[in-house]
Symmetry: D2
């Protein structure tokens, strides 16, 4: 069973001539198919005067049947988090090197978008993390992450120390540069640089990856995504929490992060036959069959 698309959001983050041209081209393509393009407010401001309708992301979440994002993985992460409460599926078009989330090249826009509007697509659902930071009983932050939540020593010249509990069970007390809690989606981003494993997107799992841990046996752990993770910062002046590398929050000794699987999912549409291993092989320059 395939969804019918009527109202389609067009979102592009940067004030560039290429993004503008591609968005207008997409708007034209949609209108030729009698579909309604809908810009988000920021995009409308960035690309200047057009006759296109525009509204904010909250409205887009309620009205759009599909959102096409023009940009890189960073733009997609940002929009995906904001639309995660809605059920709007996302499609990513990339003008540079293809990303993990923006896997359609600008050159193929017409062909791929038309095919998708014809119902020729694969659906992929990715889960998010729900993150709360508390100082005592006070909630400092509540939001969600598609890639990862990182506690990092920030500007401090010293290691930070923190304790991790999973589902109420004490895991360890660790001294390190920090720790990444990554979804499968985030497992190919920062967590990979920190030495974490690649998690297939179909896994209901998260990786807890220490960053330069003082204890050499502190290795990445993969746990069930249903688990509740609690990270207590014991000591770390200047420590920072990063959400998807895009939202940054200063924390102090005694602050606590509570991380668990969000009840929201993000839905991505891909061209039919898209396969995660092909993407990995290309992005990581893995060996081809000889």
């Amino acid at each position: 069973m395939r969804k019918r698309f009527h109202t389609i959001a067009l979102i592009g983050k940067y004030q560039s001539a290429e993004v503008r041209a591609l968005l207008l081209k997409l708007a034209h393509l949609l209108r030729e198919r009698n579909l309604t393009p809908l810009l988000d407010t920021d995009t409308a401001r960035n690309i200047g005067h057009t006759h296109l309708l525009s509204t904010d992301l909250v409205q887009i979440g309620q009205q759009a049947d599909l959102a096409i994002i023009v940009g890189g993985d960073g733009t997609m992460l940002n929009i995906a988090r904001q639309l995660s409460g809605s059920n709007v599926p996302l499609l990513g078009i990339n003008q540079g090197r293809l990303g993990f989330l923006t896997d359609i090249s600008a050159k193929q826009t017409d062909k791929v978008v038309n095919a998708i509007l014809d119902g020729e697509y694969d659906i992929e659902r990715r889960f998010l993390l729900d993150v709360t930071i508390k100082r005592g009983r006070h909630k400092l932050y509540h939001g969600c992450a598609l890639n990862d939540v990182t506690l990092n020593r920030g500007s401090s010249g010293r290691l930070i120390e923190y304790e991790i509990e999973v589902d109420g069970h004490y895991v360890y007390c660790q001294r390190s540069d920090g720790v990444v809690v990554a979804t499968p989606t985030g497992s190919t981003a920062y967590a990979l640089s920190a030495g974490g494993p690649i998690l297939h997107p179909s896994l209901s799992a998260v990786a807890i990856v220490p960053i330069c841990p003082h204890t050499l046996t502190d290795r990445p752990i993969v746990i069930n995504s249903a688990a509740h993770i609690r990270i207590l910062l014991n000591s770390g002046d200047g420590a920072v929490v990063h959400v998807d590398g895009q939202i940054h929050l200063d924390v102090v000794d005694g602050d606590c992060l509570f991380i668990h699987r969000s009840r929201h999912m993000v839905t991505f549409l891909h061209p039919k036959g898209t396969n995660h291993y092909d993407t990995l092989r290309e992005k990581l320059h893995w060996g081809q069959k000889l």
Copy 2:
């Protein structure tokens, strides 16, 4: 709902005076509770004349309500694989340093075994991998692994080359010393030395961990345990497949490994309140709360 135990297998691998003494002590304990101890044939031979009943592992699989294994993780792995087709739960008693699977110290035998026989225990189920090795259409081997299946270059002085497919999707062609496919149970064994992540036992996942890969971006991948993995050995004279590090099979160019989750599970009994993170922390010398 707790199981009632009547017939209890006693298994100990080595011809040692300590193992013999511990097994006889267990037999005595069982008879005092009006339970029936049942030695396996090898154990009976090893410990010499007793008045205890003995039978082979197939019969034990059919008759026993519980098997108590005295030894290290290696002994447990071996017995667990052989009893995996049955539903006999396993209990591991270790006379040396505690293992991941044999987590009851010999000193605590009386107390812990009595508690377990009283119904005070936690149940943990671990899945196995089903492994088939084929040469063309000919089946060279079929068996199961609780820890891991490793394809290794063996005595060859050269890297081996192989291709991996998952669920029919081509993953990569890799040159390396070999590759480990590990269950969560095996993730703390050889796969960890090869750079793999720790997988929580509750995860339905397996890790594919390359061993000293030539391509530095060939990192460990964690996939769903429901996946079907196919490994084709392209070239590797002298290559060997190791199952749980205990069964060894020579393979030649063109041989294929088919690995997927077994329909069997192994059931372990643990003292009430046993927690995998405590075990990890102790075995890996992770930091305690300061």
Copy 3:
């Protein structure tokens, strides 16, 4: 040929009763041997009124024949840098777990210090790095490091980008959390956590160790300590340079680090027969002969 000791500096960083007691005990021991104890100004202030002479580290560098440091590796690093222009040999006494640089336990103070004053010691010389940070032609900082110089992304949520040149040869442009340039002395400190190799102290070599590099093939490189290293920060708002993890300097895009071997050395005295491999084995919990 062994040096004769007359004036001996006593240095202890913390305001603790134990440090005070140990310093007074050392002073007593020295006077019984007709040697002159000399406190540094900070130590004198910390331990309160005594009849001992005190002076600043510059004077100690000129007058002392030996400096005994009571504390951990952090205290030793700090003092060693400050005395590196002098030729005063250093001896480290540790009240807690032994360090790499403070390898005499408080319990053995009497025995070991007496033996050393009797001329029973091994001499070990360690080199330092000379570090200059420049903003255009302006010199922001000039100093030396015994362990390491680290360029780190600091509070930024993004990777930093920098270029490295060695002896005028372009090495690479890297995106990462940062990079550590470590001496053999520092190779067992932070650089080890970042994945660097252990360098034997006798090596005239430094390790360049990227921290969580985006490019997975960016591996640690070990180069000659005679090399001149230049690191240009291309982009990294909020980036920080850490010298021995103790001195912290904010840097901005375009700032340059110039690192080369200092013409100064630090001299450590050790109990006769001290061997670096024994220290490594103990500190890293390596396997003993079975």
Copy 4:
């Protein structure tokens, strides 16, 4: 001061039409310059009838002023070891992807070889390891390695256990898949896959790199190349020693490897201006300046 070349050995390992054509082209080029080409016996046999002189590698070591090797790094390693007792400089021409040791592409043969014969070249000297394997007092093997000496578990399904001593000092007892002792030349070969650091060729250092060690703190160590390394195999049925991945020797429990720097060096000629960092950047796909 540059050497004058008169007699120039031409060596190519494989029976391929391309190698033959390139060797004949080189012979022609040399004769046009009134220089004497000299084939090695194996090469002469491989390429079939020609009017060129040929002799064995021992004679080449005595008579040639230069040896041009056509092939990959494997061929070069093999020839370099055999000619290491002579002072014949080596030049490597590669018909495929450039290697670390064979850094001249076949396409540039004429231009580069002429320039080198004109005296336009850089000289680089690389040291070798001297390896002796003993069983009790009996010498099983004595030879040299340009890349590495590896002790590996071979066909065994178990870890091997060995003890390492450096300069008579006990280092550790390790259980692992094996251990690589690599020169700077070998540091970019197998040792890199095993997690070792890159050593700059100008370093007088060797890396001891454990392969999948059981103890996670057993990290690569870099020591002075003047050191004498002794590796005692405690237990490892089926273990093998590999020299440069090309010579393979079965060893048994109690066998000992003695490794130290050879008194011989290998001399490579490179086109003027060749720089190791350029080679690393290309071979490892490191980031270029943006």
